[in-house]
Symmetry: C2
Subunit: 454 residues, 2 copies
């Protein structure tokens, strides 16, 4: 391997054999989820109606590593290990002494990191005799990934797609159908939750989750699958970070800063957790930055509190940063980042000062995406343009400081299905959408009471 390498590749035998569970390494006592009715700590039985037992055991596990089933690793071979790139042309365009690396998950069947968890979730449910999975999807990346995974294990799949994304990303819908699944615009009239939210025609992830959970709860042969937030989902994504550690070793460099975009937390956690554990266990001093939309500033403006994962209050309450469970974020193009809450695992890390958060305005993210596309050739999805924007800012800070800093960011997906957003940006029609402070304040006032303060 010469030192002008652009892509650091691993062979299939380097696909991780275990997922990394950060739960036992978190500081302090674990904060349990709470049963939505009793407000008492929720046990595995509170999840049984809609999740396969194997996934629930992963959700509550305190084991530091969990073995990846061989059948799942076999499917991972269709696209993993994913490449790690050195962004030499972007570095040159920025005239920065920084070395910029990115881990690229866009080589997966659906063009994002989502199949990493869709496959083990579909596999666990198929093994448990489940016939159908329901789910929500924002940008469509998760819905198409679950559709793909269900097809491999002969499961039916029904997807509730957030209205604003359903309208702006018709080809994600086509992709879901090409993989053999059914897709509905959310809010739909198929569920009580959908009908109760007809006044929010653009929809939200919270509403779509309520719809999918409602359908799954009606039959023992139907389960629900979530694409982010929950600990077992974050767990599955840690293969990203594990591979990136091997690849940075190949490059002979140690990152000073690791950056990823943040919606529910699965992409961020997937890349950073293996690196974070090195900080905790081995005293490494890597910085971590979660990049979120200014229009949905969960980590930077939200409250750390117990709240529901969905809009209707059907799910257990989780300890997390939240904007309030009935806050409906403005319809920014990064549909995958439009979520009121945050992974409890990542929330604990942010609260503990181990992860920084930064918000980015929409036009700044697309400017970064365009610069990236024109130098590195990959048109990024709107979600990772948040990470690119922060990475560029960090590279410029390195230039100011005259320091050869090493930056690693997660490019969690390509933008092939998001070209209408680029059209809008190029035409100057993209707004820097802001959250409504009043609506957020109202949502915050509705945080569940009678629960422990954290």
């Amino acid at each position: 391997m010469s030192d002008d390498t652009t892509k650091y590749l691993l062979t299939e035998d380097k696909i991780p054999t275990h997922w990394i569970n950060i739960a036992p390494d978190l500081p302090g006592e674990p904060l349990p989820p709470l049963n939505p009715a009793t407000k008492e700590p929720a046990g595995p039985e509170d999840f049984l109606g809609i999740f396969a037992e194997e996934l629930i055991m992963q959700e509550v596990s305190q084991e530091p590593e969990i073995e990846i089933p061989e059948e799942v690793r076999e499917v991972y071979k269709l696209w993993r290990p994913t490449p790690l790139y050195r962004a030499r042309r972007l570095e040159k365009a920025l005239d920065t002494p920084a070395h910029i690396y990115f881990k690229y998950e866009g080589v997966s069947p659906t063009g994002s990191h989502k199949p990493n968890t869709a496959v083990p979730q579909a596999f666990a449910n198929a093994k448990a005799g489940i016939k159908k999975l329901t789910t929500e999807t924002g940008a469509g990346q998760w819905g198409s990934s679950l559709a793909f995974a269900c097809g491999l294990f002969d499961l039916e799949c029904e997807v509730f797609m957030v209205g604003s994304s359903y309208d702006s990303k018709p080809y994600r819908r086509s992709m879901i159908e090409t993989f053999g699944a059914t897709v509905h615009r959310s809010p739909s009239d198929l569920t009580e939750a959908g009908r109760a939210n007809a006044q929010h025609p653009t929809g939200s992830l919270g509403i779509a989750i309520s719809e999918a959970v409602e359908i799954a709860a009606q039959s023992p042969e139907v389960n629900y699958a979530l694409g982010s937030v929950l600990s077992h989902v974050i767990l599955h994504q840690t293969i990203i970070g594990q591979e990136s550690i091997l690849q940075m070793e190949m490059a002979g460099e140690e990152p000073d800063t690791v950056i990823a975009c943040f919606g529910g937390g699965s992409n961020f956690g997937g890349l950073t957790i293996p690196w974070l554990r090195r900080n905790i266990r081995e005293g490494a001093t890597t910085r971590f930055i979660a990049a979120e939309p200014a229009a949905c500033p969960t980590l930077t403006k939200g409250e750390y509190a117990y709240d529901f994962g969905d809009t209707q209050g059907l799910t257990p309450m989780m300890p997390m940063y939240t904007l309030g469970h009935d806050f409906v974020p403005p319809p920014v193009h990064a549909g995958g980042l439009r979520y009121h809450g945050a992974s409890p695992l990542i929330s604990a890390l942010v609260h503990g000062g181990m992860v920084e958060a930064r918000s980015v305005a929409q036009n700044d993210t697309f400017a970064a995406g365009l610069q990236f596309a024109r130098t590195e050739g990959i048109i990024p999805a709107p979600e990772p343009t948040h990470a690119i924007s922060v990475a560029i800012a960090e590279a410029e800070a390195a230039k100011q400081a005259g320091e050869e800093r090493v930056i690693l960011f997660g490019l969690c997906g390509h933008g092939n299905f998001d070209m209408a957003s680029y059209d809008a940006y190029l035409a100057g029609n993209l707004e820097n959408l802001e959250f409504s402070q009043q609506e957020m304040d109202e949502a915050m006032a509705k945080l569940p009471d009678g629960v422990p303060a954290i």
Copy 2:
């Protein structure tokens, strides 16, 4: 490397250092192109007004190998070497003893093989002091690739996009603009050729070529770039086949049959020429099948004759299989295969009996594409579904014969920008479009006269 490998990967130092020129290995005397006015053999000077000299020298070269400039190899590193896959899940679904491999070019910046030639063409023109390139594009894969390549070398880029594709693939247009180029719907009113063909509102590659050539011929600072057909374009693509030879060696297998889709010939030639030369020089007995649309059956129903490359008769006449230069193929979804002519190099190989040709009906190609997507996870572009359809037929023939045959096909691009076509197929709205025999007969009657018979 274990024997259950799915992807055979090469490191960047295995990017080929030379392109392979099959011209000196062709049987018989070379047939020169003819000047469109004098009908005499065209020399390099006949191409000078619109092509860079370096590319013309490649076009007429009889050297068996041509070195790849270091600057071009550096850009290739953004996506090359591309992976070779064993399609184990497809094999299983077909219950075939055949081993099916595919070389995947969809990992490139624009999702197809086209950047392989866009980059050296842009580089050669930039080095020659040219300021702008014009081109045509069918499905949009070539136009977006040239837009990307021009951006890297600070060239302007102006693209004439075939009307039917411009309408059905708006996000290819967005991609061209994202990379910084200008795009027009063809036939346009910007050129004489466009105005003269206003009666063909769906357009064709032949018309769009005439428009782009007309603009390029007007200024010494503007050149034209072609995405297929010409020998220097085929040459640049031979890196695909060279890599696939190394990768099949890694897999420890020798292909019995190599299959690729055929439009102008660059994808087909790129994959097969390095293998074909082994047949010619080393007595290997590999079979080669060119898969073309039943709606545009250039190789299977066309005539081997001298004809123009464009509709208006602006280009030199070339010895090739042709349906007649003013034949306008029906608007099939595989826009990249809607061309009346064929690469002279590949035409000579077909004529010489070294390459078989087979045509496939549109619905059969999408059925094959869907089966491939649901087993291997990659949604193929409509063009390579022709190759997939033939590969599946060959795998079924192997099953009938009870033989463990080895099949290699070219997956020249993904279908992320072609989801509207899959929508139409899934809705049952896709027609098996046929060429008009009358229109074809009329076009054939207009083949140039006063030129040598071949």
